[in-house]
């Protein structure tokens, strides 16, 4: 159990791969995580994010590549030899042990003296604000409380790395927001290096220092929430970052990084994210908030309203654009079904990628 006490600088995944039969769940994933970072692995289900986490935890054996903690190779160690803390999706609390015993489990396994166990458990309980619940069984706790026990159990051992596998996915919307703030608070107060798996981009954006977007077992992009949000490198990443509209057209010209795309008569502008030559097919990805209704003009995208929804402060409109594509846009007011709207994208906020047959 030498790792857990040791200080470390970075965790490296080197060309990590995992095959299930002939299926590549993880392919050539390389990533360096620095001490103290909060990293989110983001992607849809089946993208390899949980596989990555389980390989790091040692619950799955990688089939190629390696995992290094500084200069020590750890990917052949058994999970109990790695000394990490982990928060599981359904918490995986030991149902037959009290809150106190659940939290103390990792310390007991490390043969920490019982006086110190008591002290550290008490600290952890205070940190996750579970005072007074120590003697209850997990079954007697609410979802949010179970979540707190799971977090306390993971951090009490002071692990070099805390692994979290979609920890908020079983909570209702309100509690999820509350626990998100809670996690951020705990991370700020401890500074534990954390790898956090989620399929919820909002969660990743609000929690992580850096986000790793995975798709089909490979890394699509690594960056800070700001980078990913403003400048997705890939259509898949844009998809995840809320660019719900995809309009296909032909690249007309590029000027200062802003591309002009012809969609029939209409002209859309956006920042070019991939190398494409004029005349080639291109896709403009636009967030609903950045596709706005404007007065009719020759270069606007004309669309027929299908419905509009009240969102509280404003409205969101759904319309059928040229070529039958569905568009989601920010509407100034409630719109009538069948009404024609003229839409234009914010050039600075729309992004342009190579089209399907480019």
């Amino acid at each position: 159990m030498s790792i857990h006490a040791a200080n470390f600088h970075e965790l490296r995944l080197e060309r990590l791969g995992r095959q299930f039969g002939t299926h590549n769940a993880l392919d050539d994933v390389s990533l360096t995580i620095r001490k103290g970072e909060f990293i989110a692995l983001l992607g849809p289900s089946g993208c390899g994010k949980s596989t990555t986490l389980n390989c790091i935890a040692g619950l799955l054996v990688s089939t190629s590549g390696g995992i290094w903690l500084d200069d020590k190779r750890i990917d052949r160690l058994r999970p109990e030899e790695r000394g990490f803390g982990m928060v599981f999706q359904n918490y995986a609390l030991f149902p037959h042990m009290s809150v106190r015993k659940n939290i103390a489990f990792g310390l007991q396994m490390r043969r920490v003296p019982s006086a110190e166990i008591a002290r550290r458990v008490e600290e952890a309980v205070a940190l996750v604000r579970l005072n007074g619940q120590e003697d209850k069984l997990p079954g007697q706790l609410s979802g949010g409380q179970q979540q707190r026990v799971a977090i306390a159990r993971a951090i009490v051992i002071e692990p070099p790395l805390v692994l979290m596998d979609e920890p908020l996915s079983n909570l209702d919307a309100k509690l999820r927001l509350e626990m998100r703030a809670e996690m951020r608070r705990i991370h700020n107060s401890l500074g534990a290096t954390t790898i956090y798996v989620t399929h919820d981009q909002e969660e990743a954006l609000s929690l992580a220092d850096r986000i790793v977007v995975l798709r089909d077992g490979t890394i699509r992009q690594v960056g800070t929430p700001h980078e990913l949000f403003a400048e997705p490198d890939h259509l898949d990443v844009a998809d995840f970052m809320g660019f719900r509209n995809r309009v296909e057209g032909t690249l007309v010209s590029t000027e200062g990084g802003i591309a002009e795309i012809a969609v029939g008569e209409a002209r859309l502008h956006g920042r070019l994210r991939e190398q494409i030559r004029p005349g080639a097919r291109a896709v403009v990805a636009i967030r609903p908030d950045d596709l706005i209704a404007v007065p009719a003009g020759a270069d606007t995208l004309a669309a027929s309203v299908i419905s509009s929804e009240f969102r509280g402060r404003d409205h969101v409109g759904f319309a059928q654009g040229p070529g039958g594509r569905d568009l989601v846009f920010a509407a100034p007011r409630a719109l009538a079904v069948g009404e024609t709207v003229h839409l234009q994208a914010e050039p600075d906020r729309a992004v342009v990628f190579a089209g399907a047959d480019a």
């Binding site: 159990m1 935890a57 040692g58 619950l59 058994r78 999970p79 109990e80 790695r82 000394g83 990490f84 803390g85 982990m86 599981f88 999706q89 359904n90 995986a92 609390l93 030991f94 149902p95 037959h96 489990f105 990792g106 396994m109 490390r110 159990r153 051992i157 692994l163």
Partner: protein, 280 residues
């Protein structure tokens, strides 16, 4: 259920209830007649016996050597319970936690001894046990009875283990438990209720399993059911009240364990629900 108050629906419901009541009344009357007879001085051609006595219990105890028979019964049952747990629980764990080639074949192997009635496989089994010299001894009785009880433990335990989230074991490992501590601190406490239930069910079933013991038991390795069978078979040699007293002793032995078992398990589990049902 949707309340249906039409006349036909009420008649139908009444008919179903009438059948249930008829069945239960006959069942109790059957048991009652055995109990009544065991306390009867003389009972011929009347509703109730001419007088009451407990002396048949003493004579049954002596005539049928029930002391020895009960000792053998409990020894056999204890060994069967112990070994079916030792063999069945690990196997159930493997089947619940792993997918491997040949798993379906293995499941079939564990299902067949429960589906095929004991007398069908009991005759070839007895033949083999006679040739290897096990038959006629306590060891033979235990071995024969383990054939259906090991699969029974497996089939009861597999769904029980499956409903324990494997992530709990993963969590124990991540937090530093090695195999032996994982077993001691996490698995054993979690599995214990299931093991207890499965073994109690085995116990109740084993006391009552007749055919296998009957086929392989010798004069010194008879269990209570087998002794009862021989007594009934040779009716006329002993007073019927004496046989009934023995039957009551047998019933009490079985039902005590049934009552204990039912504190922990559902009655339906005694018939060993088929696997696809347990998956619900």
């Amino acid at each position: 259920m949707i309340k249906d108050t039409s006349l036909t629906a009420r008649l139908w419901s009444a008919a179903v209830w009438a059948f249930i009541v008829f069945f239960v009344v006959n069942l109790f009357a059957m048991i009652g007649s055995v109990v009544t007879s065991s306390f009867a001085t003389r009972w011929l051609g009347t509703w109730l016996p001419a007088g009451w006595t407990t002396r048949w219990y003493g004579s049954a105890w002596a005539e049928f050597q029930l002391g020895e028979v009960l000792t053998v019964t409990f020894q056999a049952v204890f060994l069967v319970v112990l070994f079916s747990g030792l063999l069945g629980v690990p196997a159930a764990y493997a089947l619940a936690r792993r997918d491997f080639k040949g798993k379906r074949l293995l499941m079939l192997l564990f299902l067949l001894p429960l589906l095929i009635p004991p007398i069908t496989f009991g005759i070839p089994l007895a033949t083999v046990l006679y040739q290897t010299g096990f038959a006629g001894s306590l060891a033979g009785v235990v071995l024969a009875n383990l054939v259906p009880t090991v699969p029974f433990v497996v089939l009861v335990m597999v769904p029980f283990i499956e409903q324990i989230d494997p992530k709990i074991e993963a969590a124990a490992q991540v937090f530093g438990a090695n195999t032996s501590r994982l077993f001691l601190h996490v698995l054993l406490p979690l599995l214990l209720p299931g093991i207890l239930a499965a073994l109690l069910l085995v116990l109740v079933r084993t006391i009552a399993i007749f055919e296998l013991t009957f086929l392989v038991a010798g004069p010194t390795s008879q269990t209570l059911v087998v002794a009862l069978y021989y007594a009934v078979f040779a009716a006329g040699v002993r007073a019927v009240q004496s046989i009934d007293a023995m039957a009551v002793i047998y019933m009490v032995t079985t039902l005590i364990w049934l009552v204990i078992a039912l504190r922990f398990v559902n009655p339906t589990q005694l018939v060993g629900r088929p696997r696809e049902q347990a998956a619900h």
